[in-house]
Homo-oligomer: 205 residues x 2
DNA sequence: GTCTATAACCGGATAGAC
DNA sequence: GTCTATCCGGTTATAGAC
């Protein structure tokens, strides 16, 4: 049986998550984390030896929040239609509830690319299954001739990028109007799936 | 006539650009910038009063490298086909030569969202022209019924995101093979334009 | 303008009492 | 486990000679 984590330890991790997400690894201050957790700096070092160790813990937790169930979602798909639908609806819904995720991960991707890529490889996401499915489906008569890798990148781009660029879309396109932006996000799953389907299927009017 | 900038000043800005892009605002060190420019720290403060002032100068320069000609490119478009072609080919080519740009700007977008959005507004990019063109074109009989804002965001997403996520695509999809990744980028302009065209135009086989 | 030396400060980490 | 007090290295910024 897993030993129950102390209350303080979780409080620290939660506070660290908040500050690291807001300020990034380099911008975050141990003092601010301590203040947010309502404890003192020394205690941070008692639970986690260093800032880097604390960050590592936070990153792993945040990362698995994002990727723990994606492999299973993909695995259920038998056709490209299902893959698109499952993938997009899962990603957009998940990012709607955790909009900070893409920037947090991309930030670390720049500081430490190999570590992040290794984490993705270990996440259970089955690349060969994905490629196999896409290659098989690309032979269908009703589907246009596209490179499966581009299709995969397109699905990711259309789902994730609006969250990465959210302040620009909100500020520039919607003049800071939060309601209009939220509407836009709510329409997004439906729009992306029909947009991609229109692109890859032949003979639709 | 504009006074010619001293050699040293430009050397500092170039060095700062390099370091800030690589390490980000918070991760960059004035010492490293000085070393890169082959001068000493004191001289940095002689030319620019503080780290923040130097960063501001660098950011403005990098930003205008990215956006100075985009407004003119968009302005030449009369139809949605032209808009897509001009926009995608300009962006992908520009990002191919400056792949660091998206992350640098997105990083600052998190630190300072309003400043970045204000810069975009002042960049001469004519939002109403863009919307007007898209709305007009969306009435065409040969075009599917799509929300113009989503189309605009799609064009941006498909063009920019692969550069943002480059280490993941390179590392995870292409197993670190740089040549395959470069090929992928070279195919990208062509792929995106035909993908978007297939999505928005009716009755294509 | 450019340098060396140093001030002033900040932030991560530790010592040691309770 | 939790606290206060403090250390110590590193970083921005300045003083002052040349």
């Amino acid at each position: 049986m897993v030993k129950k984590k102390t209350n303080t330890e979780q409080r620290i991790v939660d506070a660290a998550k908040e500050v690291f997400i807001l300020k990034g690894h380099d911008g975050a201050r141990m003092q601010e984390i301590a203040d947010t957790a309502s404890i003192n700096k020394a205690l941070l070092h008692y639970y986690f030896r260093s800032k880097d160790k604390l960050f590592e813990r936070v990153f792993h937790e945040v990362f698995s929040e994002a990727f723990s169930s994606i492999a299973e979602v993909i695995g259920r798909a038998n056709t490209i239609e299902e893959l698109i639908e499952y993938f997009v609806s899962y990603y957009v819904a998940m990012l709607k509830s955790k909009p900070y995720l893409p920037n947090f991960i991309l930030h670390e991707l720049n500081r430490n690319p190999f570590m992040v890529v290794d984490l993705i490889k270990d996440s259970g996401m089955d690349k060969s299954f994905l490629i196999q499915l896409l290659v098989k489906e690309s032979n269908r008569k009703d589907i246009r001739d596209f490179n499966p890798v581009h299709i995969m990148v397109n699905i990711l781009s259309l789902s994730i990028f609006p969250f990465v660029a959210a302040p620009i879309i909100k500020g520039f396109i919607f003049d800071g109007n939060k309601v209009e932006f939220d509407n836009f996000i709510d329409e997004r799953t439906q729009h992306i799936t029909s947009f991609i389907n229109a692109a890859i299927f032949k003979n639709q009017s």
